[in-house]
């Protein structure tokens, strides 16, 4: 059987460019996790429903399990490892998740964090219904979402007050 077709690609993740040669069929989620070793991005379903693998592509949340890594050559990708400041200061949404007990097993958490971080850029002061809407595309099996919704509102508050991030 013929070897897999390979292609060089530049993955710019959390501001750092990585030049890698990878099989053309490799999913972005697998490339981030296995080729770049950034295992904070999690794979929960591999069919784009659960949202655990959400990363930001040029600032927009995308399902990295539904993208081929070679298709995002040169684009700016943000993963959960890139949310905190360079000095380690937590992003408001990271801080809010701890304060509000918005995670239990933590597996779906990175996808929520990135979805919410991007959502708050668009809408810095969501209502409770808007907070629900913001997180309604991600699955969590542990929390029942109540504390995640609270964390959205708390993150917005922290973000506005500049208390973090």
């Amino acid at each position: 059987m013929s070897p897999e077709q390979q292609r060089p690609v530049t993955l710019v993740v959390n501001g750092v460019g990585h030049r890698v040669t990878i099989p053309v069929r490799r999913l972005l989620s697998d490339a981030i996790r296995h080729d770049l070793g950034l295992t904070g991005t999690h794979v929960g379903c591999e069919h784009g429903v659960c949202g655990s693998c959400t990363v930001l592509l040029d600032g927009r949340p995308v399902r990295s399990c539904l993208l081929l890594a070679v298709s995002v050559d040169g684009a700016e990708i943000t993963t959960v490892e890139g949310l905190a400041g360079a000095d380690g200061t937590l992003h408001p949404v990271q801080q809010a998740f701890t304060e509000c007990h918005a995670l239990q097993c933590g597996f779906c958490t990175p996808g929520f964090l990135l979805t919410i971080a991007a959502g708050l850029e668009d809408n810095p002061a969501p209502t409770e219904d808007e907070a629900t809407e913001l997180i309604s595309g991600n699955l969590c099996r542990c929390t029942g979402y109540q504390n995640i919704r609270r964390a959205v509102l708390r993150a917005a508050e922290l973000r506005r007050s500049g208390a973090a991030g």
Binding site: R26, T39, E46, E99, C105, R141, G144, Y145
Partner: protein
């Protein structure tokens, strides 16, 4: 001393889990070879031949294995983990199919390759020749027994279990009123966001294995691997890393993959890893819930339940590796907070050509609760009494504890409730949801053309089952306190809760306590995390170990300070004379002194060396009965389970056009004894309720008549999103357990138990239909409203 136990302190796990630094199974072993499985596409078939020829040319292939390659204990059937006298025809599968497959998804061949993509390429080229066999799907087909799942089980019945505490037939005959009904509950599944996974490394020189598994029991996985691979347990280490949810499915062990991956690592002499994908999880892990129930109840004019006779058919799938724990729990926990004079439950646990059925959060309790609570609602209706009033009259009273039901629970011990206050729980719930004010809510809604209803369900949950758990507490010379326990964590916040217990017991700062769970290198004796047992079992074990360490620290410090241990206290990591904090010694120094030394490896250690002033020449450096080190290992083994309880109420609105059910309010009163961390307990309740909502309204495994699971993806198996789960209002009651030193009861499963019963009650109240099958979809409600002959309810329909 600051209070730490009982406080809603933030979780110590979160710092790594919110920054992408968690270590889940697939985050480990990036260099490992990858595994993919060839799994049966047939629900029942004879495997005539496995032809691997075409796969052999795949670049990167390392090996393909079938049953023929297995030998010794590995070629034997998988263990039947929990034998029971009633399980007369228990059957288990093989790590790889031995001639016959009995459900879609059963593994037939294992492929090892350089990466998962390549392994799947090779797996796709393996040609299996099947002879399809007749398929048994669903309880009705199993009962008909026209076809058999196992040829040597002629009626498809694996077990017939009878639980009986009095002459139910006589009591039924004597009862002034009787009613009978039947109902069904569909299959759902744990469905953690992280599937299963196994990663193994073989050290050829040391002849030892290290295995990481996304499991709820690392010690038992180790025992299974050691047995099946014929290794000394001392040569097998099993570590549960961060685990992305369990909810029961990961307590089953050894999964075929937990044996095959380590076996392949040893065979190939290189690290090997398998990570389950979502489709595999649907068709190869475990499901739960599916039951048919026939209920006959006898009651008096006041609605007192006199006799309850329950017949259950429980679908346990193709094999019974976990025994009949689920039906045992259903048949005992069905009783809830009530006390019928006579009770009998007869369960047939039957084989079908479907995925195995093993505990999923609630573990048979939601079905039992559904049976009892639907009975309570029907009695209320029949007598025209308020549903809470009928329940109130049937509750076990606070003065009746300990209450002995005269049955045997899942731990093989008598079903004796230890404590509780059910009338107070009901009073709190009625208050919280404003039960008495609901008729005005209904009227106001009706005036707007809206249809609403209110429902209630109550449960009792046996938690903290034995046999035991252990804890180890060690004060390092730095003053840092290391705590370990053998059971595992899947998001329950054990690193925080157990640290709270130890910090409080020992008198140290929370930040100085570091907890490790589920790592056989640190603690080799354990049972596992299931049955809402972790806080009760390991919580008490680490508390006992911490108390031992405290006593030893006070003794050593008293010698150093030349006072009596009774005069000393430990405050924030310093042992000090009560009332005279200036006379003190750091716990870190006590740790140094606890270990008499010959060699001073640093300045602190000099204090413990043999020429130091403390050395008393009249006594041996380590006294009889003493041991070096400021550490202790202790165990908690309960006489029997401790029983938590709770009651839920829901207000729902049913759209009369679409029949969509919207939950307007969801109220929970919960009693799990003394709370270690109320924030974590609330979180557990929220998550449980969400799964209860899923089970009540959305989640079902759709098998067709050929045994194909039609909805084996997150697109088609509908788990609740944030838009489906209501805001949950909670109130806590704290009735301490008299059975354990900390007075705690388990909380992990509680939230899910009454979900279906409570929502069925509310929907019935809204529409006046009779619901006898869960989950209930909008289409079901539409059909029910068109056809239901029992529309006798006083609801607004």
């Amino acid at each position: 001393m600051t209070q730490i136990f009982g406080e809603p302190v933030h979780r110590r796990e979160d710092a790594r889990l919110t920054t992408g630094r968690g270590r889940y199974l697939d985050d480990l072993g990036n260099d490992a070879a990858a595994v993919a499985f060839v799994r049966s596409p047939h629900a029942h078939a004879r495997v005539r031949d496995v032809d691997v020829t075409a796969a052999l040319d795949v670049d990167g292939l390392l090996g393909i294995y079938t049953y023929e390659d297995l030998s010794g204990p590995l070629a034997d059937p998988l263990p039947l983990l929990i034998p029971h006298p009633a399980l007369v025809a228990g059957r288990t599968g093989y790590p790889l199919a031995n001639g016959i497959v009995r459900h879609v998804g059963e593994p037939i061949a294992m492929v090892v390759a350089t990466d998962r993509y390549v392994a799947e390429d090779a797996a796709a080229l393996i040609d299996v020749d099947y002879e399809p066999l007749p398929v048994v799907v669903g309880i009705d087909a199993a009962r008909r027994a026209t076809h058999l799942v196992h040829q040597d089980v002629p009626d498809n019945v694996g077990a017939r279990l009878v639980q009986e505490n009095a002459d139910v037939v006589a009591e039924l005959e004597r009862a002034p009123h009787r009613l009978s009904f039947s109902q069904t509950i569909e299959r759902s599944a744990s469905m953690p966001m992280e599937g299963r996974g196994v990663y193994a490394r073989w050290d050829a020189e040391d002849r030892s294995l290290r295995v990481y598994s996304s499991t709820q029991t690392s010690t038992s996985v180790r025992a299974a691997i050691a047995t099946k691979l014929e290794l000394s347990p001392g040569k097998v280490e099993v570590v549960a890393p961060d685990v992305g949810g369990g909810f029961g499915v990961k307590i089953v062990h050894p999964w075929p993959e937990e044996l095959l991956v380590p076996w392949a690592a040893r065979l190939l002499g290189r690290p090997v890893k398998w990570v389950e994908d979502r489709r595999e999880h649907f068709i190869s892990s475990a499901h739960e819930r599916g039951q048919l129930q026939e209920i006959t109840a006898g009651y008096d004019d006041d609605g007192r339940l006199l006799a309850l006779d329950v017949r259950i058919w429980h679908d346990h799938g193709a094999y019974t590796p976990y025994g009949i724990i689920v039906p045992i729990i259903t048949s005992t926990q069905l009783l809830g907070p009530y006390k019928p004079r006579a009770y009998r439950c007869t369960v047939d646990s039957v084989y079908t050509n479907t995925v195995i059925v093993t505990p999923y959060r609630g573990a048979g309790r939601p079905q039992g609760c559904f049976a009892m609570e639907r009975t309570m609602d029907r009695i209320s209706d029949a007598l025209g009494l308020d549903r809470t009033e009928v329940r109130e009259r049937n509750l076990i009273r606070p003065e009746e504890f300990p209450y002995d039901h005269g049955l045997t629970f899942q731990d093989g011990r008598p079903l004796i409730y230890d404590s509780g206050d059910y009338p107070e729980c009901l009073r709190l719930l009625r208050e919280l949801v404003d039960w008495d004010g609901f008729e005005s809510v209904r009227a106001a809604a009706a005036a707007e053309g809206r249809t609403v209803g209110i429902g209630i369900a109550c449960y009792v949950e046996g938690t903290g089952v034995g046999p035991y758990e252990g804890g180890h507490v060690q004060v390092e010379n730095s003053g840092r306190v290391l705590v370990s326990t053998g059971l595992t964590s899947q998001g329950q916040g054990h690193e925080t809760a157990f640290a709270q217990i130890v910090a409080q017991e020992l008198g140290v700062l929370l930040d100085d306590v570091v907890v490790t769970t589920g790592d056989t290198r640190r603690f080799g004796y354990a049972v596992g995390t299931f049955a809402s047992r972790a806080a009760v079992m390991s919580g008490n074990a680490v508390a006992l170990a911490a108390r031992n360490v405290r006593a030893k620290a006070l003794r050593i410090a008293a010698e150093a300070l030349e006072c009596s241990p009774e005069d000393l206290d430990i405050v924030d990591g310093t042992v000090q004379v009560r009332g005279d904090p200036s006379s003190a010694i750091a716990l870190a120094t006590v740790a140094v002194l606890s270990n008499p030394l010959r060699y001073a490896f640093d300045d602190a250690a000099r204090a413990a060396t043999q020429f130091a002033p403390r050395s008393d020449p009249s006594r041996p450096p380590v006294d009889d009965g003493d041991a070096p080190g400021l550490e202790s290992r202790d165990y908690y083994s309960p006489i029997r389970s401790t029983f938590a309880s709770g009651m839920h109420a829901a207000v729902v609105e049913v759209d009369r056009e679409t029949f969509e059910v919207r939950i307007l309010r969801y109220a929970v009163v919960h009693d799990c004894g003394t709370l270690i961390n109320p924030m974590i307990v609330e979180g557990q309740i929220h998550g449980g309720v969400a799964q209860g909502v899923g089970g009540a309204l959305y989640e079902v495994m759709h098998y067709d008549e050929h045994g194909q699971l039609l909805n084996a993806s997150f697109m088609d198996f509908l788990m609740p999103y944030a838009t489906e789960v209501p805001h949950i209002e909670t109130a806590h009651l704290q009735t301490p357990s008299p059975l354990n030193p900390l007075g705690i009861k388990g909380a992990g499963e509680a939230g899910v138990i009454p979900g279906s019963a409570c929502l069925a009650s509310a929907i019935e109240d809204a529409l006046g239909v009779r619901i006898a099958a869960m989950p209930v979809s909008p289409s079901d409600l539409f059909e029910l409203l068109a056809t239901d002959p029992e529309r006798t309810r006083s609801g607004s329909a």
